[in-house]
Symmetry: C2
Subunit: 136 residues, 2 copies
DNA sequence: ATGGATTGCTATAAACAACAACAATTGTTA
DNA sequence: TAACAATTGTTGTTGTTTATAGCAATCCAT
């Protein structure tokens, strides 16, 4: 079939993102974590007592949509909330959460390395800076 | 906030894809087309009498999900169906569809060009081949 | 001619994201 | 310090997208 779409960088960007996201999801499934869960765990691990609102801003997830996400992680015993003042609550990883986070990071780092290996050497080092420029 | 995520190519890939998709959606909105609509119109334009199943395979969209998509395009008077045999139907652009498709292509090409301009020159030519390797 | 594959479709469910609204609390500044 | 503005965590709702299973009709290959 004649298909001019893959020559559009924007189209290939979408397809590449879908393909890699699907594969990472498969690899995170044994941990019963989604990608967004892993992102949140990593960010909380790096920033103890971060608030739900701040997390949402960093990840471009609306406050309202953080609620079920955090509830799921809390129900799974991975995070806990500590009141910072009368209205904000700081998030932190539980012991189980720290363990899961470490496992997830290992999976992600392996996945990222394998993903980069698939990119022909001459282009490899240009990928991250090019992507970075598109959304930062 | 400490955020190691943007250093993961996979994460930046997802964020870049989201950011660019959101912007392209805005630009296509005046035509009342979504990105997937534009993709389908372009593919049909290049391949008259293609079937819904073949389209779905090319775009990685399941047969079942092509139904409402094509119905929408048909209701908008952009495509028409011609029976090829007792069960398959060939898709083609109507006159209105051809016009819309051309407008969409113009918007997309302008968008892609501007997107590439945002990528620093040394990395620019490497983006498409790198992305291509990730999903082809 | 029969059995397997394909086509188009229905129906359903899950995940994800967008929006508006709300009470409570915090901060800002007049 | 009193009043006003902004922020936080929620709820509820909606729309979009995608996945899954199933079905009748038709095509194709042996």
């Amino acid at each position: 079939m004649r298909d001019p779409l893959p020559d559009f960088p924007g189209y290939s960007l979408r397809r590449a993102a879908n393909a890699t996201a699907a594969e990472l999801s498969l690899r995170l499934a044994p941990l019963e974590l989604r990608q967004v869960d892993a992102s949140v765990l990593i960010l909380i691990g790096e920033n103890p007592d971060v608030t739900a609102s701040a997390l949402g801003r960093q990840l471009d997830i609306q406050r309202a949509n953080m609620v079920p996400l955090l509830k799921r992680l809390e129900d799974a015993g991975l995070i806990e909330r500590n009141p910072l003042d009368g209205k904000s609550q700081g998030l932190a990883l539980t012991a189980t959460g720290k363990d899961k986070c470490k496992q997830a990071q290992a999976i992600i780092e392996k996945f990222e390395a394998e993903m980069l290996e698939r990119v022909p050497e001459p282009h490899r080092q240009h990928l991250l800076p090019a992507l970075y420029a598109l959304w930062q």
